[in-house]
């Protein structure tokens, strides 16, 4: 679906950003990206989405102009729109019902008419999640979607993602700091490190979904990843 060949994006005279990333995305696949803070994960998503054109290398897509959905690391809500209007942002008005449902699912029923300034951090993040899930883009990118959520809300929303992917599979890239989350949701995991960041290794999680959170194999993989990321290994 999308082929990334030797793509790099540098800042500050090659002292920051990421470099030499190769990646083949097949349709319907869910890719996880794990990596140290500042290794270029968000920048990578920006390059893929076309927001940042200062990269080098080749990005090649099978479909002409694939539609792209992105959830940014910050909520980026429009401060002048209410919760409901924010979720509907980018829609022509035909999805009002879906929007209401999504708001309920992410647990914000009753807050439809609040302005972003009156939301808690986690609530704002959930609005952003709902907004990005309203459409079914060819490529969905989520940048640390659950970072501000408590453990249980997080689990709930992970299930939500799974159920959405089941009914309407869309190719997805999920940046996260939560290894369990990546193992639970993704078909393949990229591990990035360094400054500028590079893909250190790639892990295929070959288990049918829904997976079991207590799964032995997943626990082994977690150990492996932890080792991979450990700074003391340097």
């Amino acid at each position: 679906m999308l082929a990334v060949e030797k793509v790099s994006r540098w800042f500050d005279e090659k002292k920051a950003g990421f470099q030499h990333v190769n990646l083949q995305l097949t349709k319907g696949e869910v890719i996880g990206v794990l990596g140290t803070s500042g290794c270029g994960k968000s920048t990578f998503l920006r390059v893929l989405s076309g927001l940042d054109e200062g990269y080098e290398g080749r990005i090649h897509s099978k479909k002409k102009n694939p539609s792209i959905g992105m959830m940014f690391q910050e909520p980026r809500l429009m401060p002048w729109l209410t919760v409901f209007e924010n979720v509907l942002f980018g829609d022509d008005g035909s999805k009002k019902k879906e929007a209401s449902e999504l708001i309920d699912i992410v647990g914000l029923g009753g807050f439809e008419n609040h302005f972003p300034k009156d939301l808690s951090g986690g609530m704002a993040q959930r609005v952003a999640i709902a907004r990005s899930l309203l459409h079914n883009p060819d490529l969905l990118m989520l940048d640390e979607p659950f970072s501000a959520l408590d453990a249980f809300t997080k689990l709930q929303l992970q299930e939500l993602l799974l159920s959405i992917w089941e009914t309407k599979p869309s190719t997805s890239i999920l940046v996260t700091h939560d290894i369990d989350e990546a193992l639970y949701l993704c078909d393949r995991i990229l591990i990035m490190r360094g400054q500028p960041g590079e893909v250190e290794s790639e892990l295929v999680v070959d288990k049918p979904k829904p997976r079991h959170r207590g799964d032995r194999d997943l626990a082994d993989m977690k150990e492996e990843i932890l080792k991979e990321l450990d700074f003391t290994n340097d």
């Binding site: 992105m70 940014f72 429009m78 980018g90 972003p116 300034k117």
Partner: protein, 277 residues
């Protein structure tokens, strides 16, 4: 040792909050304090002849003069025509500024083509147009309204474009992700985000509009508050001059207040101190 206690039995509602915060004197008379004191000093000074009355007639004299004129009816015509000129010029100037501001703000190409010329024109103090407008369009309504419109145009345009340029890149990127067309981008993100600047611009535009109506009416008119002022000046009646200045202030303030209300209403989403509960 510090104790902070809030023991009201009702939830801290808006009302209670503002009461807690307010100063010993309530809002409206704090604002009136200074003007009232000034007016009393002024009245006393004039009555006792500390300032010559041909320089500064007492406020009561001024008000009396205005009331008389109001009762005799001639005042309303002047006020009406001036209001008409300001409003017509304001609408035209704002519309032009909004269209051009959005054009240059949303298309790099347009900006490169138009902005330098507009900026250069802006550099001309708009009053300097007066002689040329008189020469070209004459001293009729058209030239007066054009002058007001020119005055309104630039602050609106400047504030709008600087607001548009200041829009947070992060929000614009959200729109790009939805594949918005430029126009949709402008309509759904740029314009709302630039709204505070735009409204500031509109308000200074209006106040410039009032100024330009004075400029326009100083020259070759037979009606309007500005004419009244010139008339007072030429006939050495400072009470007429000051009276028309006061009327200008009253109407300028009233129209500004309307805009201010609109601004308040439409900017409730802003996370500012005075918007919080």
């Amino acid at each position: 040792m510090t104790i902070r206690t809030n023991t009201a039995t009702l939830p801290a509602s808006k009302k209670k909050k503002s009461k807690k915060k307010s100063l010993p004197f309530t809002d409206w008379w704090a604002g009136l304090l200074l003007p009232v004191v000034l007016i009393i000093i002024w009245e006393t000074a004039s009555r006792n002849g500390w300032v010559a009355s041909h320089l500064l007639p007492a406020p009561t004299v001024v008000v009396e003069e205005m009331v008389t004129m109001g009762r005799e009816g001639e005042l309303w015509g002047h006020i009406g025509i001036t209001l008409y000129r300001v409003l017509a010029g304001f609408v035209i100037g704002t519309a032009a500024a909004a269209i051009l501001g959005v054009l240059t703000g949303s298309s790099k190409w347009m900006e490169k083509l138009l902005d330098p010329t507009l900026q250069a024109l802006r550099a001309i103090p708009s009053l300097a147009w007066v002689p040329l407008f008189i020469l070209w369009i004459g001293i009729g309504e058209a030239s007066k309204i054009t002058l007001v419109a020119v005055g309104v145009f630039f602050p609106v345009y400047l504030n709008l474009t600087s607001g548009i340029q200041g829009v947070d890149r992060k929000l614009i990127e959200v729109g790009r992700m939805y594949g918005f067309s430029t126009w949709k981008q402008v309509r759904k993100i740029v314009f709302p985000a630039a709204a505070p600047s735009f409204l500031t611009g509109i308000r200074s535009g209006l106040s410039l509009g009032w100024m330009f109506v004075v400029a326009a009416e100083l020259l070759g008119t037979s009606q309007g508050l500005g004419y009244l002022m010139v008339f007072g000046q030429n006939t050495s009646s400072p009470e007429l001059v000051i009276g028309s200045i006061l009327l200008f202030a009253v109407f300028g303030k009233a129209t500004d207040e309307i805009l201010k209300r609109i601004e308040r209403k439409s900017l409730q989403w802003q996370d500012r101190l005075d918007n919080s509960v």
